[in-house]
């Protein structure tokens, strides 16, 4: 059986088109493909953003993402999953994270993709430092992200 899970933590940018092509390649049983892509916004909490610096915990990051994907696989019928997360310095508009999921059933693909993003937000060891007009600042975690993850239980 081929490996259907791809996890990558990388400084380089990625191509959504290539990732979708990999998810769909020789895959004629999954009729549904759902993707999420998160990018650096130009505004956050009222401030003008110039960019982000993303730090992570090498080693733990991959294990944590792998565990989240396994949980999703145990809840829904999904076959291929790709998670890419960038680290390092990113400018406004740049891609930060990509999650792609394939399934024979569209609801499974939607639910699993959102589940993976919700748990990535609270369990995967990434930290954002924001560079705005007011200088550098580590972002605080949002209680709304904790609430979203709890809703799956």
């Amino acid at each position: 059986m081929q490996t259907d899970i791809k996890i990558s933590v990388q400084t380089e940018d990625f191509s959504q088109a290539e990732e979708v092509a990999l998810l769909e390649q020789s895959n004629h049983s999954d009729g549904a493909v759902v993707t999420f892509c998160g990018r650096v916004r130009n505004r956050n909490l009222g401030e003008n953003i110039q960019g982000l610096f993303l730090e992570h915990y090498p080693g733990m990051t991959e294990k944590s993402l792998s565990k989240i994907i396994e949980q999703a696989k145990s809840k829904w019928q999904i076959n291929r999953v790709t998670v890419i997360h960038r680290v390092g310095q990113l400018s406004v508009g740049e891609q930060i994270v990509f999650v792609g999921v394939t399934s024979p059933h569209r609801h499974d693909a939607f639910a699993a993709n959102e589940f993976i993003m919700d748990f990535l937000k609270v369990n995967a060891p990434f930290w954002k430092k924001e560079l705005s007009d007011n200088g550098e600042k580590w972002l605080d975690a949002r209680s709304s992200d904790q609430d979203k993850a709890k809703q799956w239980q």
Partner: protein, 82 residues
């Protein structure tokens, strides 16, 4: 020996990303914290922060989680990726 690592805002506040401590008399994550504060009293406010998260060998764990020689213990603020 126990390897201790810090990340993000905590790493910057402590001005330290990694250190090693003797594992004698240390059997939980909470005891690692107490040991660090004993060595560096000015770390107290940063280490005794209820929001702080802990991981042992790359798994997120509660403060009463066991720790033994050879383990890697990590402390970091709530995560903000995605």
């Amino acid at each position: 020996m126990i390897k201790v690592v810090f990340f993000a805002a905590l790493r910057e506040k402590l001005a330290c990303s990694e250190l090693s401590i003797e594992s004698d008399n240390i059997s939980t994550v909470e005891q690692v914290k107490q040991h660090l504060i004993m060595q560096q009293p000015d770390w107290q406010a940063h280490i005794h922060n209820n929001a702080l998260l802990s991981a042992v060998n790359n798994e997120m764990v509660p403060a009463n989680h066991p720790v033994k020689s050879g383990d890697e213990v990590a402390f970091f603020p709530p995560v903000t990726g995605g």
